[in-house]
């Protein structure tokens, strides 16, 4: 539903986005990740027709955003960065205004506004001027505005930024519930969000894609993927480390922390190997006094850091 080809944007000498290609289909929730200034917002501004690309094309539901702007914008809901809204209007007036611009009239407008309000739980603050609302409610007004016409394509720039954990949860549930019928792009700094709602994660850095895959695939790139951590009394620690090192699938062992007379030991597997069974069997056999034992799926922040800092080039080649 969203097709991006060779998208490039230069601001003077600076290339904010360079030759970015991507396509997003129905049912996909694409998490758009990257450090500040990587080009996430610029890309979203071009998808929604606010900025014209220097080169390349964006098509939304078959409409070219540059030449058939209005047709493409009709199919999209957009939450710009910071969820801007007219502060002097109440949430109700604002949503009514959006409905009218989107071509709803009379009863149709009322219904669209009511549906959007119910989905974003705005009832309590409907008649307050938007500028007096808390950050969380403001964000939800922006969200309500974006989903008002039930668009097939949603573009959201940091939809949960500034929300408390409960609000984050409800926004994520809302996106999840809508996901099967839509193509959604969500930019975020929060890696846990990617794991919570995204079916696909794309990491961009310096205007280009450096990683693209399911969250699980990205996690598999983490050093901690399938790593096993166990906590033992300090007295048994050295013997345990020595023993674990001899296991065939273990690549390395680290003492990762100590606390209250307990020592934490993390064993990293040789690539792809599962360690948890081997280590738990060993622990039983050796009669270690195990207090904690868990395997990790991987750490997305570690992957993110690795990809967007020193070995960005290598990661790109690997992908």
């Amino acid at each position: 539903m969203i097709e991006i080809q060779g998208l490039t944007k230069h601001f003077g000498q600076i290339a904010a986005v360079s030759d970015l290609s991507l396509s997003v289909g129905k049912g996909e929730v694409l998490g758009f990740l990257g450090p500040n200034g990587a080009g996430k917002s610029t890309t979203m501004k071009m998808i929604t027709g606010y900025l014209a690309p220097t080169a390349g094309h964006v098509r939304v539901c078959g409409h070219d955003v540059e030449t058939q702007t209005i047709a493409a914008q009709t199919q999209m809901g957009y939450l710009p960065e910071g969820a801007p809204a007219y502060g002097d209007m109440t949430a109700r007036q604002f949503l009514r205004f959006i409905a009218e611009i989107r071509g709803f009239r009379g009863e149709g407008a009322k219904e669209a506004v009511a549906r959007s309000i119910a989905r974003t739980e705005l009832v309590a603050v409907l008649d307050q001027p938007i500028e007096t609302l808390s950050k969380g409610f403001k964000r939800r007004v922006g969200l309500a505005q974006a989903i008002l016409h039930d668009p097939p394509v949603l573009i959201m720039d940091e939809p949960t930024d500034g929300l408390d954990p409960n609000q984050k949860f409800s926004v994520r549930s809302l996106l999840k519930a809508m996901a099967p019928q839509k193509a959604i792009i969500v930019s975020t700094h929060l890696l846990e969000e990617v794991e919570a709602i995204c079916t696909r994660a794309v990491i961009i850095d310096k205007g280009g894609i450096v990683a693209d895959g399911k969250p699980a695939e990205l996690l598999a790139r983490s050093r901690h993927h399938n790593a096993v951590t166990l906590a033992l009394p300090a007295a048994q620690a050295q013997a345990a480390i020595a023993k674990i090192k001899t296991l065939p699938n273990v690549a390395s062992v680290e003492q990762s922390g100590s606390d209250d007379g307990l020592v934490q030991i993390t064993a990293f597997p040789k690539s792809g190997a599962l360690l948890i069974e081997e280590i738990s069997a060993t622990a039983v056999r050796e009669q270690w006094d195990v207090r904690e034992l868990y395997a990790e799926a991987g750490r997305l922040d570690e992957v993110f850091r690795a990809i967007t800092t020193h070995d960005a080039q290598r990661a790109k080649a690997a992908a």
Binding site: L51, A52, I70, T74, Y78
Partner: protein, 244 residues
């Protein structure tokens, strides 16, 4: 056209949602009164017409209209609502027209609220109400022209102070382009056609013609085409900003 109306309504309501409208109207009426009665010596003239009242309109508009126009786009850009507005499925010209018409309607409201002076002059004598009506029409058209210039300039910046100052300067040049100050400067070296072209852009010339009660289609067309020109320029400016 469908989108002009909601944009107009939103913009027009925004004036009255903040103190802006009330502050502006009070100052506008106060200034009108001060100029008419104290500087224009409305009573002492002993003439039952609104000549002195209208004579000061160009000079008042010169400062008050840019104050309305400066926020039109500069504020949208600063608060980020411009990104919202321009990604809604409304053509650029509809946004420009809707916002402009709202601002123009607002100045129209302020102008209409000067009606007590019309009542006064009718109470004191028997003026030619046709001339007065022509004066109001001319004044409204002139305000529209100032406003179109200001809207266009507002679209070029996110700084309202810059928008205000530049608008005042440009409007000033349009106002006095027929005055000796400007014309003498050109007369020394420019060909006659250029000099007369420049002087024909003078708001004062066109406004005083209408104010005198002579509603010449050419004067009305002058203001309307100037408005159309600057609104078209406004669309172009916004479109260019898309390029980044």
């Amino acid at each position: 056209m469908n989108q002009v109306w909601p944009i107009f309504k939103r913009e027009f309501a925004a004036y009255f949602a903040t103190p802006l409208a009330y502050v502006f109207i009070v100052i506008f009426l106060f200034a009108m009164g001060a100029f008419t009665f104290y500087i224009g010596h409305f009573y002492e003239n002993g003439v039952a017409d609104l000549g002195v009242f209208f004579a000061y309109h160009p000079w008042l508009y010169l400062f008050l209209v840019p104050a309305i126009a400066m926020r039109l786009w500069a504020e949208e850009r600063r608060t980020g609502t411009m990104e919202l507005l321009l990604t809604l499925p409304a053509p650029l010209w509809a946004s420009v027209l809707g916002k402009y018409l709202a601002a123009w309607a607002f100045t129209g409201v302020a102008l209409l609220l000067t009606f007590p002076i019309w009542i006064t002059v009718n109470y004191l004598g028997s003026p030619d109400n046709g001339v007065i009506l022509a004066g109001y029409l001319g004044s409204f058209l002139m305000a529209g022209a100032y406003l179109a210039i200001g809207t266009c300039i507002s679209a070029t910046t996110n700084n309202q102070v810059i928008a205000f100052v530049v608008t005042v300067v440009v409007c000033f040049l349009f106002t006095i382009s027929g005055a000796p100050l400007v014309i003498d400067f050109f007369r020394a070296w420019a060909p006659f056609t250029l000099v007369s072209a420049i002087s024909s852009f003078s708001f004062l010339t066109h406004f005083s013609a209408i104010m005198a009660g002579v509603i010449d289609l050419r004067d009305i067309l002058f203001f309307l085409s100037l408005i159309a020109l600057f609104l078209a320029a406004n669309v172009v400016v916004l479109d260019l900003k898309k390029m980044g």
